[in-house]
C-alpha cells in the first residue's frame, strides 16, 4: 500500500510539470468589459480605461467588489469610486503593503482609529500649509527679480 501511494505521488509529480509545460495558448483575461452587467459597469466605470490591463484574478475581484456596492452606504460608495482608479495603478507590492497595514489598523480599538484619522487630517493640513508657504515664497522671489 505504501509502495502504491509512493508510486502515485511520483506519477503526479512527473505529470504535473509535464502538463504545465504543455504548450497552451494564453487565455484572454475574463470577464471582458462587455460581459459585465450594466450595474457592474456603472460601479466600475472609473476602471473602464484600465480594464484591459487587469488579469482575470483582478477582474473577478472587482466584479465581487461591484456586487457588494449596493449594500454600501452612499459615502462608502463615493469613497470607493473616488479611489479605485488610483488603487489599480499601484504596484502589487504597494497594494499588499496597504492591505497589511489596513488589517493591522483594523484591529486597533475604535478610539485609536479615530485618533489616526484625525492625525491624517492634521498631516494633510500641514502639507497644504507647507505647499502654500512654498508657493508664496516662489511668488515673492519672482516678484523681487
Amino acid at each position: 500500500m505504501v509502495k502504491t501511494l509512493v508510486a502515485i505521488a511520483l506519477c503526479l509529480c512527473v505529470a504535473a510539470p509535464a502538463g504545465a509545460a504543455a504548450p497552451a495558448a494564453p487565455k484572454p483575461p475574463k470577464p471582458e468589459w462587455s460581459e459585465l452587467t450594466p450595474a457592474q459597469q456603472k460601479v466600475l466605470e472609473p476602471l473602464k480605461e484600465d480594464w484591459t490591463s487587469l488579469d482575470t484574478v483582478r477582474r473577478k475581484k472587482w466584479v465581487k467588489v461591484a456586487d457588494r456596492y449596493p449594500k454600501m452606504k452612499p459615502e462608502q460608495q463615493q469613497r470607493l469610486q473616488a479611489q479605485m482608479k488610483e488603487w489599480v495603478r499601484l504596484s502589487p507590492e504597494q497594494r499588499r503593503a496597504a492591505r497589511e497595514k489596513f488589517l493591522a489598523i483594523k484591529k486597533l480599538p475604535p478610539e485609536k482609529r479615530a485618533q489616526l484619522k484625525a492625525q491624517w487630517d492634521l498631516y494633510q493640513q500641514s502639507l497644504a500649509a507647507k505647499s502654500d508657504t512654498t508657493t508664496a515664497d516662489e511668488a515673492s522671489a519672482v516678484g523681487t527679480h
Partner: protein
Amino acid sequence: MNEHELARKIVQRLNGGLDHIKQGTLYRLQTARQAALDRCREVPQPAFNPALAGAGFSVSRGRFFNARNLIAMGLLMLSLIGITYWQYVVQSNDIAEIDASLLTGDLPFNAYIDSNFEAWLKRSSQ
C-alpha cells in the same frame, strides 16, 4: 490480575480454542489459505520494471494500473483540484472583502502607504 497474567490467560484460551476447531472449519480455512497463495503466485512477474526499481521498490505495469490504484489516483487528483479551487475562491473572496473595506474606510488608502505620514506620526508623538 496483572497484565502478564491476563495475557497468559488469553493465550491459553486462544490455544484451547485452536484445539477445538471443527474439522470442517479447519478444512475451509486451509482451502482459503491455499487459494489465496495460488492467486498470489498467478500474478505475472514484472516484465516492465521502471527506474523506480532502483530506488528500493518496483512497480509493475500490471500491478500499478489496476482498478484500485486508478480509483485512488482519481480521488487524489480530485482532492487536489478541489483544494486548489477552494483556496482560490477563499483567497479571492478575502481580497475582495479587504479591498472593499479598505477603499470605503474613513482613511484614504494613501494613509497606509505614505511613508512620510508614518515618519510624521513618529515625530509628532515624540
